[in-house]
């Protein structure tokens, strides 16, 4: 009979693996986990939280720039996309990063409709990742509260 801890640990393991397999996360996320320890037990959660704040800010910048009808500064949009691509890469947010690559191409070719589409997709994507990671962190908390240890998951 499975204990609560064992069940939660299994859920955590399965969920983590699915996030990688579905391309939400890549090995840079694994790298971040290596930086977490007893002294900094919430390091990953804190970094991704800053990342999501960054997403919100940069997406706001892009939206404003794209809103200047007839006078869109694609360099400005592109520069925000570049920054977003950088930070998504640094936290292992694989899908967001991938969208930024496409988005950058639209900026470079001054493709307005393409940019608007990409902006919408990036917005949806980061929010989706945010929700999923929140679920993951909640699972971790539940495991710890149930007296268990968070398992090391090898992808």
């Amino acid at each position: 009979m499975d204990t609560l801890v064992a069940q939660l640990q299994r859920q955590f393991r399965d969920y983590t693996i699915s996030l990688y397999h579905q391309g939400f996360l890549d090995d840079q996320f694994t790298e971040l986990k290596k930086l977490q320890d007893e002294c900094s037990p919430d390091f990953v959660a804190e970094v991704v939280s800053l990342f999501f704040e960054d997403c919100e800010k940069l997406i706001g910048n892009m939206a404003r720039a794209l809103d200047q009808t007839g006078n869109v500064d694609f360099n400005l949009v592109g520069s925000s996309v570049h920054q977003l691509k950088g930070s998504s890469s640094s936290v292992g947010a694989k899908r967001v990063k991938g969208l930024c690559i496409t988005f950058k191409e639209c900026c470079d070719s001054q493709n307005f409709e393409g940019c608007v589409r990409c902006l919408q997709q990036v917005d949806i994507e980061y929010k989706s990742l945010k929700a999923k990671l929140q679920d993951l962190f909640n699972l971790e908390q539940q495991i710890v509260q149930a007296g268990g240890r968070i398992p090391q998951v090898d992808i």
Binding site: E31, C39, S40, L50, S79, G86, S90, K104
Partner: protein, 262 residues
């Protein structure tokens, strides 16, 4: 971050939340490695700071080249008496930054009498051979491809501790030996000179650079053969600190395929 003796551009709430404020730093000791990290991205600053701390470095993180120069006391003419106390063992900087690029910062550091000996490492998300070349020619110690991993920082750390006394002249010689053909690389068809005026755009030259010389060869130590070098290093590895095979080739492989990454 007054205890680190420098500017940390994290808001204090951020510092507390990532535990940086919680880490009680003792006063800087002479044998502690002190790294100045420069990156305009907050997320990247947090990550590099953590990477460095976890490898036992003291870190001062700033968000621009100007702040870095300010920290080093290089932003004005007069020499500061404080500088005798300021010990910086390594400067690690992002390449693409608004205002002053990492390359420009590198140049200013190498032009200064007080800090030209300090190794400077450049980080970039873009694997551009001409950019790497330019930085190495200007005296950069190493070039890291973002996202930076623990293995990269460990590698830096290993050559830093064994090499802190090595003079800059010797380092350049070693780099020159391992970069035999860099001056004969053909200029890229979209000139790299446009890169510095558009630091934040994804430069088209990444698709243009089809170098005759693989970047792996650029970093080959003179003691090993250029292409199949598994644990190459910017400087010859010492036995106790050579990187494990799975670390270097991954990074080197990445550098060997321009255009594959982004």
């Amino acid at each position: 971050m007054a205890r680190d003796g420098g500017v940390s551009c994290l808001r204090s709430s951020e510092m507390m939340s990532v535990g940086i404020g919680k880490m009680e730093s003792p006063p800087l000791e002479l044998d502690e490695v002190h790294v100045l990290a420069v990156d305009d991205s907050l997320v990247d600053r947090i990550v590099i700071e953590r990477l460095l701390r976890i490898t036992s470095c003291k870190v001062t993180a700033v968000d621009s080249g100007w702040r870095a120069l300010e920290f080093l006391g290089l932003d004005n003419e007069k020499a500061s008496a404080e500088l005798d106390r300021l010990k910086v063992d390594l400067i690690i900087t992002d390449y693409c930054m608004p205002g002053m690029t990492g390359y420009e910062l590198l140049k200013k550091i190498k032009e200064s009498s007080s800090f030209r000996q300090v190794p400077v490492v450049i980080m970039s998300s873009e694997n551009v051979l001409t950019r790497i070349d330019r930085c190495l020619e200007e005296g950069a110690e190493d070039f890291l491809l973002k996202p930076v991993k623990l293995a990269d920082v460990k590698r830096l750390r290993s050559y830093l501790t064994r090499d802190v006394k090595l003079s800059n002249a010797n380092k350049r010689k070693l780099l020159e030996h391992s970069v035999p053909i860099q001056t004969s690389l053909p200029p890229p068809s979209s000139p790299d000179s446009s890169d510095s005026s558009r630091p934040l755009t994804n430069s088209p030259e990444s698709s243009d650079s089809s170098p005759p010389l693989s970047p792996v060869e650029i970093f080959s130590s003179p003691l090993s053969s250029p292409i199949d070098d598994e644990d190459d290093d910017v400087l010859p590895s010492s036995p106790e600190s050579s990187p494990t095979p799975e670390e270097s080739p991954v990074r080197r492989q990445k550098m060997g395929s321009p255009g594959l990454l982004d």
